[in-house]
């Protein structure tokens, strides 16, 4: 009698020989997404007094190859919301061009004066993401939902596992490590949102895009920014497309051997 619980209920090795684990391996290739192929990098967003600023660069990478340089990764959904996606581009295109498009058509068709607000779009997206992870067929993205909801700025995140959370400053991918600390310096908590102007928020997000371009090898210097601003129930979304990074300083590179102008 083997006293080890992990051996109970299994064929005895001394009678049947060691278990052949290859029987567990599927014979057919798995058709679900196993890894992202063409990918977008970070999305960065920050709340301010009267709205949210969200930005993502225009690059779609194929591994380390900069494959498509005009890929917009932000989408306006209805009247109140902008969604930003990082991760797999084809999954993003399914969400943006099929799922969200169908959702908006279905809701706006009623023509009853009601519009989906940011919270509703977020709720829908996070349930889709969680549903797909439950089917073991995930949509390989991290999504940031920015918008205006019930007289307040709204910003929240969902990912391929259906994990959900919300904060006044959010960034996906590399940005979670590089941009969030910079944004939290401007906006450490929900209370300080009221003290941040639109200009300050745009400036902070621009700075983040710059730092990300300096340090993220899968990023580019051209990006899209959306500013969702609201007053009571009136929402305005301003788009800045194909923005080039301004005032870059590569001075830091001078001191790094093999990076700057040194010859040896």
């Amino acid at each position: 009698m083997n006293h080890l619980p992990e051996a109970w209920g299994r064929p005895r090795d001394d009678v049947y020989g060691a278990y052949d684990h290859s029987h567990l391996r599927p014979s057919m290739p798995n058709q679900h997404t196993q890894e992202p192929i063409v990918t977008g990098t970070s999305v960065v967003a920050l709340k301010y007094n009267g709205g949210v600023v969200i930005a993502a660069d225009n690059l779609a990478s194929y591994g380390s190859l900069a494959r498509f340089s005009n890929m917009e990764r932000l989408k306006q959904v209805g009247t109140h919301t902008v969604v930003g996606a990082s991760g797999d581009i084809s999954d993003m295109q399914y969400l943006f061009d099929t799922a969200l498009e169908d959702l908006v058509i279905k809701e706006e068709y009623q023509n009853d004066g009601h519009h989906l607000r940011a919270k509703h779009v977020y709720s829908y997206l996070s349930r889709v993401m969680y549903h797909r992870r439950n089917k073991f067929d995930p949509l390989w993205n991290v999504l940031l939902v920015a918008g205006w909801d019930d007289g307040k700025p709204f910003l929240a995140s969902t990912d391929l596992l259906g994990t959900t959370f919300s904060a006044p400053a959010l960034a996906s991918g590399f940005g979670a490590s590089l941009a969030v600390p910079l944004l939290r310096r401007v906006c450490p908590d929900e209370e300080s949102v009221a003290k941040i102007s639109r200009e300050r928020a745009i400036e902070a997000v621009e700075e983040c895009m710059k730092v990300l371009f300096y340090r993220d090898a899968r990023s580019t210097n051209k990006y899209t920014m959306a500013i969702v601003s609201g007053e009571d129930n009136k929402v305005d979304i301003e788009w800045k497309k194909d923005v080039e990074l301004q005032k870059q300083s590569w001075k830091f590179a001078e001191e790094i051997r093999g990076y700057g102008a040194q010859i040896v």
Binding site: R25, F165, A167, V180
Partner: protein
């Protein structure tokens, strides 16, 4: 020979002969901790408000204690994999709401909710909801009842006096053993022969213990901190307080 003995070369048996399967892992750990303590006629449920992914702090304000309906005393705290935890809370909220409309506006008892939560968790036995739950409420006599669950639904129908789960449970449980159940406490002057009798604690004492547990857990566990959500359920209804915890 240990796998770690040769850092540069893979062991011979691991050569890339067969196609490598890159499996999708449907779980993650979002950190945090929860506590539930039952008094005689009140209940304290608490959780920190930090939400993590690895070494990243996703949010400092994500609550872990959920009120299951506006007009009952049912409260659920969940911790573990955030998406599963929130899904369980939502499932329970909908069940409590449905029950009310199917039973002539009578609220679900805490015992019924406890058994239902078991069904929900065990129903997912073969693809478990990776979340630890603590469910509490007042019974028909106004006595506090507290139940705690593992991810596949195991719970005790008798309920418990205190429960803790999550990232820092290993730090909090022994503290609660000693301070709530008076483990290893003896009556003075009896030379460690007479154990101190267990008694219900007053509400202000319980709140102090919970705050102490979380400030201490925050000191020693990196996934615990930022804020403390402290919920009190008593004959006066539902009361929620928020306290600061260290943000480092």
């Amino acid at each position: 020979m240990s796998l770690f003995a040769s850092p540069s070369y893979p062991p011979v048996g691991y050569a890339a002969s067969a196609p490598r399967q890159h499996a999708f892992n449907p779980y993650t750990d979002n950190g945090g901790s929860i506590i539930g303590i039952a008094g005689d006629d009140f209940l304290i449920m608490a959780g920190d408000t930090r939400h993590t992914s690895g070494y990243n702090i996703n949010s400092r304000t994500e609550k872990k204690v959920f009120r299951l309906s506006e007009d009952s005393t049912l409260v659920l705290a969940t911790v573990g994999f955030g998406a599963d935890a929130k899904d369980i809370a939502e499932t329970m909220r909908l069940a409590v709401n449905d029950f009310k409309f199917q039973h002539n506006l009578k609220n679900m008892t805490v015992q019924a909710a406890a058994q239902y939560l078991f069904t929900v968790l065990y129903g997912n036995r073969f693809f478990p909801k990776y979340a630890y739950c603590i469910l509490g409420g007042l019974d028909k006599d106004g006595k506090a009842r507290l139940y705690s669950y593992d991810p596949v639904g195991s719970y005790s129908k008798e309920g418990e006096r205190r429960a803790a789960a999550g990232a820092a449970s290993s730090l909090i449980v022994p503290f609660l053993d000693n301070q709530v159940e008076f483990k290893n406490q003896y009556v003075p002057g009896t030379n460690f022969t007479v154990e101190r009798e267990v008694e219900y604690l007053p509400v202000d004492k319980v709140k102090k213990l919970v705050k102490d547990a979380f400030t201490s857990a925050t000191e020693r566990h990196i996934e615990v901190g930022d804020g403390l959500q402290l919920v009190t359920i008593s004959k006066d209804g539902y009361q929620e307080e928020l306290f600061e915890l260290k943000k480092d």
